[in-house]
Symmetry: D3
């Protein structure tokens, strides 16, 4: 059997098998960008509540957007082996169609390590904030398909899902 | 048209439509529990890497468990309108079958407000940590079906998905 | 000379003159509330920008409100001798008249120590967020009269400015 | 009517009117400096308490200084659309005259985005710490004239109030 | 061989051997207190610098005291399986004799879980702050004998080292 | 008497004797590395518990390792006058001999200020996590000899203990 990941190993596990941070000190400083997305399947009544609210005041989505941006900035405190980095931009966008709220989160830095997790975190925390703000209407809201859709720069080059 | 949520309103939006925290000062102190779960669909090679690693050292899942517990404790800093509360317990459990890693997160407190978001956050941060630790093997790992499966106590009583 | 504060001493300075936390372990658990306010004097063009924005999307004030609530929750990490406490409610209200934006911040807890600083912090961080979001229009915006306007419960009883 | 801010727009509001972070990835790395200040009007007895304390042990002002420095470092977690940055210096200075305590806060970085908010935050948290440490003596202490007094570098050049 | 800890097991390791938080939801609320201490062995010149500084301004020890108090409040974010709790008091005391700086840290809460780690953390962060503030004078300063000296209340009763 | 530190002064105390951050804005960006270590003297039964646990699951040491890495990343929030910096690597290693657990912590950055405190913090938080996870077995565990063993780059060059 050919091991599919023969040259791909767990980057966070060191020689003796213990968890460790990747040393990024000698990686080059380049513009690094990642985009993640997820779909929030809204429980009964939630889409209407968000939509009416949005058209009038935009509150649920504005609060969720702010939460997503703030969450992305906290990534290195939340994911144990993530490096600290200073994001040059985070953006969270919403697309509400029927009962599905699609969230796209973009993170960028000029640095020596990628920002995939920061992008995931933005989408993630935005989705949980939507759930928090609407859970009195329905507890059946759930999140699907939280995934990476784009990554550019870094050793592994550009990736598109 | 009958408004489906005629008696259920957005709890975080005040009379003038602006976002606000629910006042929980006169809610009773009771044992409150919530369970959330999600399924991490592992990209090619990831399940094997986790499984071998688990049987030998348990690292990926142990690190993700610790991250989930820590994340649950940070919920009120991440979700803008969540109340601060002291969790009496957080537990994160993993069930790896084939290429699917099922994560169950349980949060408990004795307090005056529910812990649904703390449960979601535990599952969520654990899932993202798995992604972070295995993203060098595959970028195709994604998270599905992040949802609430149980909630007990509080005004709305017991809920089971 | 009569020392005006003969019976009022610096609560955070211990017998040997060093800073210390007040021990609140034997204070009673009661509902404690505090209200603080400040006035943001908006630079040229800022009031119009907020007002148009508010009527259409509410963004500047919604973002500042969320920031104020989040800031109030971080008080014990920011003010060295403040006690940790779980707020049962934080509310931030805005009143925009001419070029003056009046911010009122209310904090409540059921606990053994007051929430004045949490109320101040809410008003304060909301004001700084307004400044951050409008500083490209004018750098002349400033904050005046950040003060306590109400405090109830606790040993010193009810205070109204 | 000539719109006074015809070429100056809300930098944190994107094309569709939603809040967003400014992308600073292509701004140049330069030395950036900002100075903010405020005046704390001390309630009866507070100035004396600080002064005596200062001459003997310096506690109130030292604690407030430390709090201001620490607060400045937390700016990007507190102000939602502020960028993360590593401050190369924060300094907090006090000038106590009569019942007025003047606080000057200086922040510097070598980076691609300004440090105005970091300077404001330093003055701000220092002022609130003075209030916290002296509120048992007087609740009438208030903060006035929290403003930017200097900013250098960045696209808009040097600004002096 | 008699296993010395036959009835004492690792409280943070669950049945399947994975790390987990102890559930403290059904423990009683009592006054809980812990005292930890350590000795900082000061490198050449450091004791004199602290002493002169202390007699004049108290800065090094005041800053370290504030850092220790703040650190104790952050314990549940730093120690993965520690519970969140609201400390009713933290105190850090210094005793400088010759080249040895003895630090005693006391933590108290009214709660359902002990505060040993909060006491350790206070002593610990105070010691590291002394090192940080004096490392330009000597890099040979080190910390010894960081230990628990007292614990009261809780299932295991009172402990004195 | 010859003052031993005639040319070495407290870097964190400014001209008027008040605490302040060193301005590192004009220091050069170089690879900076520091190694700190400590020895945890394990109470009765603890070494066996860790060892059995380690050989089977590695939990105590893995959790402590993760805690140490996370703690190192929080250094600038915990040590008041430490600069913010983005670590390119943190590593925590354990060596368990008899009843002594030796912890070595390595921190690296490419930056303009040293990482000694980050290295200390990693060792420190790892040690306290070991204590937390084993305190039900013995309360007599203590930490000795927390010290700097290596530092390279920076104005003062390479240091080895």
């Amino acid at each position: 059997m050919i091991r599919r990941f023969s040259t791909k190993t767990l980057t966070h596990v060191d020689a003796s098998g213990k968890a460790s941070m990747v040393n990024v000190g000698n990686k080059s400083l380049t513009l690094r960008k990642a985009i993640a997305s997820c779909t929030v399947h809204l429980g009964a009544g939630v889409a209407t509540a968000i939509r009416e609210n949005t058209s009038k005041k935009g509150d649920v989505l504005t609060v969720s957007k702010i939460a997503g941006i703030n969450g992305a900035k906290q990534t290195s405190s939340l994911i144990p082996l993530c490096h600290q980095l200073n994001l040059s931009c985070v953006n969270i966008e919403f697309d509400l169609k029927g009962n599905k709220l699609h969230i796209t989160s973009t993170a960028e830095t000029v640095g020596n390590t990628g920002v995939e997790l920061e992008a995931y975190m933005g989408a993630n925390i935005a989705a949980l904030t939507v759930i928090d703000m609407t859970k009195a209407i329905s507890k059946k809201t759930f999140v699907n398909n939280l995934r990476l859709i784009h990554k550019s720069s870094g050793k592994s080059g550009t990736y598109n899902a």
